[in-house]
Symmetry: D2
Subunit: 160 residues, 4 copies
C-alpha cells in the first residue's frame, strides 16, 4: 500500500485565497510522499489536487455521483460511489488523518464523522468550535501536525 | 404515504434526564400523528421510540448494521443499511425535519448534513454553535417548531 | 418489531400480467400479517404495494434516490437512501425472505446478494438459472414457501 | 485521470488454477497501462492485484469494511467503504469495463449491476448464463475484448 493517506476537506466552491491555501496543502502532502484523498470535485478539492499534481503526488477522488467523469482533471484515481453526501463517510474512513480548509456544512459533517471514529482533524482557517478539533496557521504546519499525529497514533484526548 | 416524518437524533447512550426529554419528544411526535424516524439503537433513539409507542405512534429505525435484529424493541420498521455511520445521511434524507436532543459527534454530523440539504433542525439541550440551527426549550416546543417549519417550507435563512 | 418482512423484487416496468402476479403477492403478504418491503418505485413494486394496501397491510419502500417523494403512492414508509442501485443491498438485508417476480438485471443482482448472505429467495415466472434459487408457480405458493422458510430458518443447501 | 479502469471480479477464495488466471489478467491489464480496480480482498482479488504489481501497474481496492488495513498487500489505493456487499455497486460504477474470473453469488451480483448500467462484462471460466454477458477463453483475450469495448463504447445489444 502507498500512503499515508491524507484527506483534505473543504467547500466545493470558495474564494481564491482559500484555494491557494488548499493548493499549498496539496503540494506539501505530495512533497511528503503522502497520498491526497478528497471528494474529487471543485473548490478546495480541485485546488488541493492541483497542488499535489504540481509536485508529482498521487490523488484519489471519492465522488458523490455515479460517473468517474465527474472528477476534476487533477484526480488520478476517481471512485464513483453514487452515495451523495454519504460519500463523506468514505473519505473519512479511507484517510488516515484529515485536514480541513475553511468549509461549510459538508466539511462540518466530515469533521464530526472523523472525530466520531477517532481520527485526527487539523483545521486551517477554522470556522467551527468543536471539542477535539486541532488547528494550524499554515499549510505546512497543518501537514506536519497531520503526519506527526499518525506517528503518535494517539486518540484525541478531548471528545464529546 | 404516512407522515410527516420527524427525525430524532442524539447519542446512543445518555443520562436519564436526556432520555426523558427524548421520550417526551417521541410522545409528542406520535400525538401529532407524525412518524418517528431514528437510528434504531440505544440512548436517545430507544427513549424516543419508546415514547412514540406509548401513545400508539409508528417508528422507523435506520440501522448502521446488517441485521434488523439490532433494532431496539420499540422500532416497528427497522432498516438494515450496513453502512455504518454513513447511515446518518439516510436518516437525514428520509426525515422531513429533524429534532436533535443533546448529542455528540454523530449527532453533529447529522445536523450538518441536514442543514447542507436545506432541512430544518431543532435542537433541545443544544451543545453546538452552528449557523442555521434552531433551538427549543422543551420537547413540545421542539415538535411544534418542527411541524410549523414543514408548513412554511422555508429554507433556512442563515447558512454557511 | 412488526414483521416478518417479506421483500418483493422485480422490474420497474413490466407487462400487466406480471403486475397482476405482483399485486396478488402483495395481497397475500398482507393477509398473512407480514410487512411488504420493496424498492418503492414502479412496475412490480407499485403493483405489489397496491395489493398489500388493498387488504390493509404495511409497505416499506427503500428508494434509490434522495427524496421520499419518489415513492409510489402505496408506500407507507419510504426510505430515501440516495445510493442508486446499491440500495438493492439494503432491501436484501432488511427483508427476512424475498420473492422475485420475473425481473431483469436489477432483480438478478438482488437475488445474488440475497443468496450470498444466506437468505431464501422464491421466484415466480423465473427467468434465471441460479443454484439455490427456489421457485413457485403461484403467488399464494410463493408466500407460503417464503413464510415456511422463516420457520425452518434453514440455510440454502445448494450454493455457489 | 489515469485509466482506463478495468474491474476484475471473482471469488474471495478460489482454487490455485483460478488464481493463476486472475494473476495473468492482472498482468495483462498492467501491460496495457490500464488501472486494475477490484474488491481489495483475497482469492481472485489478491491474485489479480499481485499480477498487476509484478509488471508495475496500479491497483485500486474498493473494500467492504471500514479499514484500509483490510486490503491485500498488492493494493496501492485502498478505499474503505464500510458498505458491505453494497460496495459491489461502487466497483461496477468505478470500472469502465469488467472482467469476471469464475466466481459465485457476489460476482453474479456485480455482473448483473454492471449490465444494468450498460457496462461491458467479459467472463473467463464463466459459470453463469446471462443475456448480454460476453466471454473469453484466455486472460489475454479477455483484456483485449475489454479494451476494444471501451473504444467502441457500444451498448450491449442483448439485455434483459
Amino acid at each position: 500500500m502507498r500512503g499515508p493517506f491524507v484527506g483534505i476537506i473543504g467547500a466545493g466552491s470558495c474564494e481564491s485565497s482559500v484555494e491557494e491555501l488548499a493548493a499549498e496543502v496539496g503540494r506539501e502532502i505530495a512533497r511528503k510522499d503522502a497520498v491526497l484523498v478528497c471528494g474529487g470535485l471543485g473548490g478546495v478539492m480541485t485546488a488541493a489536487a492541483r497542488g499535489a499534481k504540481e509536485v508529482g503526488g498521487f490523488t484519489v477522488g471519492i465522488l458523490p455521483g455515479s460517473s468517474t467523469q465527474d472528477a476534476n482533471v487533477y484526480i488520478d484515481f476517481p471512485i464513483a460511489t453514487n452515495m451523495g453526501q454519504a460519500r463523506n463517510a468514505v473519505i473519512v474512513q479511507t484517510a488516515d488523518v484529515l485536514i480541513a480548509v475553511s468549509g461549510g456544512y459538508g466539511t462540518l459533517s466530515e469533521i464530526a464523522m472523523a472525530l466520531k471514529i477517532g481520527k485526527t482533524v487539523i483545521a486551517i482557517q477554522n470556522r467551527f468550535s468543536i471539542p477535539g478539533l486541532k488547528t494550524a496557521q499554515t499549510p505546512i504546519e497543518a501537514v506536519q501536525k497531520a503526519l506527526v499525529s499518525l506517528r503518535e497514533r494517539s486518540s484525541p484526548t478531548i471528545t464529546i
